[in-house]
Amino acid sequence: MSDGSKTLALHGGLLVLLFALQFVLPAYHHGNLARIMVLASFAVGYNVMFGYTGLLSLGHALFFAAGMYGMGLAVQHGGAAPVPGLLAGIAAAVAVSAALGLLALRTSGVAFMIVTLMFAQAGYLTVLYFGAYTRGDEGFVLQQAQRVLWGIDLTQPDTRYFAALTLFAVCVLTTLALVRAPFGRVLIAIRENEERARMLGYDVFRYKLAAVVISGTISGLAGAVYGLLFGYVGATFASVQYSIFPLLWVLLGGAGTVLGPFIGTLFMFYLIDLSSAVTSAYMLVAGVALVLLTLFAPQGLVGEIRDRIWRWLP
């Protein structure tokens, strides 16, 4: 088999497996997996910027929340149906990521990380400030009637699972196509050696800006779908924690691998799920994982597999 067909078989196989799992999983894990697939889509978006372009953002909650609030406010206060709501969410994510990219990409390295962190913090505070519409920390709940898409009731577990899988499949296949296309190759080149890419005649700024917008849009789409599927829009999703999570998931799974974000999200979700049964300080797990990962496995799980066994993994 060529590398291309192996890649398609592996990723297609995962999607088929996820499709089949919904018929066998018990209700609790069924629900979890739906949530994991939406969060993994968020991480897939994060990975475009961090994993493939080498831009470490500490502010991705801003994009997730932009999508979520873009959708949520349109549905709640604008009376929009889910589809226009989703479109509003995507539009918000595109606008916010383009604005952030134009500003933050003037910096690099540590300054870039801090700038993204600061803009995300400003975004979080803005959500709190307009508490009259967003209901701040408390958030607001979308009613069942507001969450019917083309006659499909997204509050039902099986439709929800299917919607989450659709989103996840779209995000994974988009990334896969992206990183195998010349465009994605240039992003990787920028990650590896930005100056060299520039001296091959690539307009590095425009490529990076495109990466930020694609990354932010995927993340925002995930945020909008999350709000729609789980019916809740709250400021927590704009907080620093939700900027750290995708970083953690991607690091754990393997930055710059298409499957890494999903594996990382799955792993971390269950790790925190299990530990929260033991202690309320479940974020301790996240902290320990971050430290151990930076120390011992900066490539992440899928990254280590790629280094040791499957060199062809995209």
């Binding site: 190759r185 590896e192 890419a197 520039r198 091959l200 005649g201 690539y202 307009d203």
Partner: protein
């Protein structure tokens, strides 16, 4: 016809004049060697040409138009190619991908890219195992890969910064042959320390010293020039 020229091109770093008021002309089709003692400003000068470094003052013209205000990637887009002095390949990407990245800016379609990449790799003699990671190559082979990345762009002006540094004698002989072959279609500006390369491949030589042009002429003239010898011996 003049392909590249500069007028009053200067660059100073914190008061130190690295390049000072350089007027330089390079006719199309020529192979020009840029020589000079260490610290003469050669790398800074070519950095100014291709836009890696912003000049303190002065102008650069390429193909009859002023390009002083253009960012590096636009200049490359006009038909310049630049290979780095300190090898700067994409270490974790394959040989093939390194050259393909250089090729894709002008070529579209996987088949066309592959054909050109393989031909460029063949020209520098790196046909074996193109799927290897570039970082695994020996230093000399990384230099050759750099040259292949320059070639595949089919540039009008190819700027090579010390291309033969770290190459074996056999590889240097291959490099000389390659430059002669290329000179039919490409204007070449190369910074070179190896005098045998300069004597054999260059049409003309420009000598830089203390950021200024000390002398210019055929290799034989420069070889005989007393000022040039003095500059190299450090008595000038």
């Amino acid at each position: 016809m003049t392909l590249l020229s500069t007028r009053g091109l200067s660059k100073s770093f914190a008061g130190l004049r690295a390049v000072h008021e350089v007027d330089f002309d390079l006719p199309e089709g020529e192979v020009r060697a840029l020589i000079g003692p260490n610290g003469a400003g050669k790398t800074t000068f070519v950095g100014l040409l291709c836009g890696r470094i912003a000049p303190s003052s002065g102008q650069v013209f390429f193909d009859g138009r002023e390009i002083s205000h253009l960012p590096a990637h636009r200049r490359i887009g006009l038909g310049m190619a630049y290979t780095f002095q300190i090898t700067s390949v994409f270490a974790r990407l394959s040989l093939f991908e390194n050259v393909a990245l250089a090729a894709r800016r002008r070529l579209h379609g996987a088949a066309a890219v592959e054909a050109e990449v393989m031909s460029a790799l063949a020209k520098v003699g790196l046909t074996e195992a193109p799927e290897r990671a570039a970082g695994d190559l020996s230093y000399g082979h990384q230099r050759l890969l750099e040259i292949a990345m320059g070639l595949v762009q089919a540039p009008r002006l190819l700027i090579l910064d010390e291309p033969t540094q770290g190459l074996s004698d056999a590889e240097i002989a291959g490099f000389k042959a390659l430059v002669r072959e290329l000179s039919a279609t490409t204007t070449i500006l190369l910074i070179e320390h190896n005098m045998s390369v300069v004597m054999e491949v260059a049409d003309r030589v420009t000598v830089l010293n203390f950021g200024e042009i000390l002398a210019e002429g055929t290799p034989a003239e420069m070889h005989a020039n007393a000022d040039v010898q003095a500059a190299y011996l450090g008595t000038g």
